[in-house]
């Protein structure tokens, strides 16, 4: 038991500079809302933390597992809808909706996992795409989930910790940061667990992994299920942050792609990849994109820049930006 706690919190097997970096990062995030008062910057920071959160969950199957999943948005959607619907129907406290959302997402992931993992590589990626799209279309089609109109959560007047609704973004900042840290610590435990090792062995060489007694498919299924659950958490947050959700907001294809790309650019398979990736994309999108749209009504340059980065990274350093950092470190 004590061992598990140690595993969760111990980052000792990382280089000193990584640990210091993490510490500095945490400190900056913690004091951020207190020193920065612009509303827009706070929003950007929240979005950054949210995408880092999404990224960590995705990194499990996409990074450590080496299976590119392009349908994570469905899990986000499950979490979001679970939270939103339960609040609207039964006024359920937030923290009860979260595990329920996670269970639903995990359950669905488990269900589709077995057939999908018969496929490898590109085929698998496309299958995940299809599944997510089917779900999105279904959610639009169904009336009981609000269809295309979406679900609106009644606004509370004052800070409400039961339903996690707050008047000021400061609360949301710490809220999403808390979720982010929780998943980060989970990842820290996971990568040292037996499943973590087996998963990486599968990623590196499936045949060899099988020869060591690892049931390759089952390992992938387990991981994919967990990733599903983790995605749901971010979705639940979205629901109470925006107080309005609809299928195009919480489960569009673009979101799945964005989550995957963010981690891939930052460095899939490493702990810091999701953070780095989000740190590049979100400010790029929110600042550059917004500024450009403002001055010329020209959309999309930010994405062009981002996709250029993606292509360059794909061609030069498939391990993402973190891979580049490691390479440089190795030489220095």
């Amino acid at each position: 038991m004590w061992q598990v706690i140690k595993d969760i919190f111990s980052f000792r097997d990382y280089h000193r500079f990584e640990r210091i970096g993490l510490l500095i990062f945490i400190v900056i995030i913690l004091i951020f809302p207190l020193i920065v008062e612009q509303a827009y910057s706070r929003i950007v920071m929240i979005k950054f933390l949210l995408f880092a959160l999404f990224g960590i969950g995705w990194n499990l199957i996409g990074g450590y597992g080496g299976q590119v999943d392009l349908g994570q948005a469905k899990n986000v959607g499950f979490g979001a809808y679970a939270t939103a619907l339960m609040m609207v129907w039964w006024n359920t406290p937030f923290w009860i909706t979260v595990p329920i959302g996670m269970i639903i997402a995990a359950f669905e992931s488990f269900g589709v996992a077995y057939p999908m993992f018969r496929l490898k590589g590109h085929y698998f990626a496309i299958a995940t795409l299809c599944v997510a799209l089917v779900w999105k279309e279904l959610f639009i089609f169904w009336d009981w989930t609000g269809g295309a109109r979406g679900v609106e959560i009644p606004v509370k007047a004052t800070a409400d910790f039961v339903h996690m609704q707050f008047p000021s973004n400061i609360y949301y900042h710490y809220f999403v940061f808390f979720l982010f840290i929780t998943q980060l610590l989970f990842m820290n435990w996971f990568r040292k667990s037996k499943l973590g090792y087996q998963l990486q062995a599968v990623r590196d060489n499936e045949e060899a992994a099988a020869s060591l007694g690892i049931n390759v498919t089952w390992t992938k299924v387990k991981t994919y299920t967990i990733t599903g659950g983790l995605g749901g958490v971010g979705g639940s947050f979205l629901a109470v942050y925006y107080l309005y959700i609809d299928p195009d907001l919480v489960m569009p294809l673009d979101l799945s792609i964005l989550i995957a790309m963010t981690v891939l650019v930052g460095g899939a398979g490493s702990m810091w990849g999701p953070i780095i990736g989000a740190a590049i994309l979100i400010p790029l999108d929110m600042y550059l994109g917004a500024w450009l749209a403002l001055i010329g009504g020209r959309y999309g340059i930010d994405f062009m820049v981002y996709s250029l980065i993606i292509m360059i990274i794909a061609a030069r350093e498939p391990k993402g930006i973190w891979g580049i950092i490691e390479r440089v470190k190795g030489r220095g």
Partner: protein, 242 residues
């Protein structure tokens, strides 16, 4: 009887890769599997270990039928194997890779670590613990692959051309290592080999395949004089000369 292979047949489309192969392996033996390229040796390995499903025939391990069992199941049952060509990636360190093998028998990370370190020590690979596989020379990579398989505590270890790509000195080291494994760990060895310097001194018995069929089985010194074997390797001209 540790391993019994009865009338194993493996077909791919129209090609018969293994035709009616039968043999037994007893506990504690060291047996070599030789034959010209394309004779079906690796296919046989794959059928036993579970990478292919035999078209017909039976495989029994410790008396239990394991025909068609998938690879991870045969590994857990006690059949370890190494691969001729290891796909090398820079993902995990040597120690971590061997730990994965150890996780086959242990659930706890620290136990796995201890076990892995012990195996690496046994094989003299301590100094390589923190390296990544792609940083190592071929001979070391092969030894690591061997260590990984050993970590699963197999009763039967099947080695696919473990000596390929090694220079004479490395080959000698490998032979010593294999003998040590056989002696100290009491593991039955079954080797596919082309390098005769490895097969002959190690094997107590040799099985010969050619064109998918078993054409000979016996002591090394008898096999080298067997006309069919010579014909398989060198063609009719040389066989007649004996």
């Amino acid at each position: 009887m540790l391993l019994e292979v009865k009338n194993l047949v493996k077909e791919f489309g129209g090609v018969v890769a293994n035709a009616d192969i039968s043999f037994n392996l007893s506990e504690g033996e060291m047996v070599g599997l030789i034959g010209p390229n394309g004779a079906g040796k690796t296919t046989l390995f794959n059928c036993i270990a579970g990478y292919y499903k035999p078209t017909s025939g039976k495989v029994l391990f410790n008396g239990k039928e394991i025909t068609g069992w998938p690879a991870h199941q045969t590994a857990r049952a006690g059949i370890g194997r190494t691969f001729q060509i290891m796909k090398v990636t820079a993902g995990m360190t040597v120690l971590e890779n061997v730990m994965v093998g150890a996780f086959c028998r242990a659930d706890d990370r620290h136990l796995a670590k201890v076990e892995a370190a012990a195996i690496l020590g046994f094989m003299g690979l301590d100094s390589l613990k923190t390296y990544h596989l792609n940083e190592l020379p071929v001979a070391s990579q092969k030894k690591v692959g061997l260590a990984m398989a050993l970590a699963t505590q197999p009763e039967l270890l099947m080695l696919d051309e473990v000596a390929s790509g090694l220079n004479p000195k490395e080959t000698e080291e490998m032979v010593d290592l294999l003998k040590k494994i056989h002696r100290k760990k009491k593991i039955t060895l079954f080797l596919i080999e082309h390098v005769m310097e490895v097969v002959m001194p190690i094997s107590q018995r040799v099985i010969v395949l050619d064109g998918g069929e078993k054409i000979a089985e016996g002591l090394p010194k008898d096999i080298v004089k067997n006309e069919r074997v010579i014909r398989a390797y060198l063609g009719d001209k040389y066989a007649k000369g004996i």
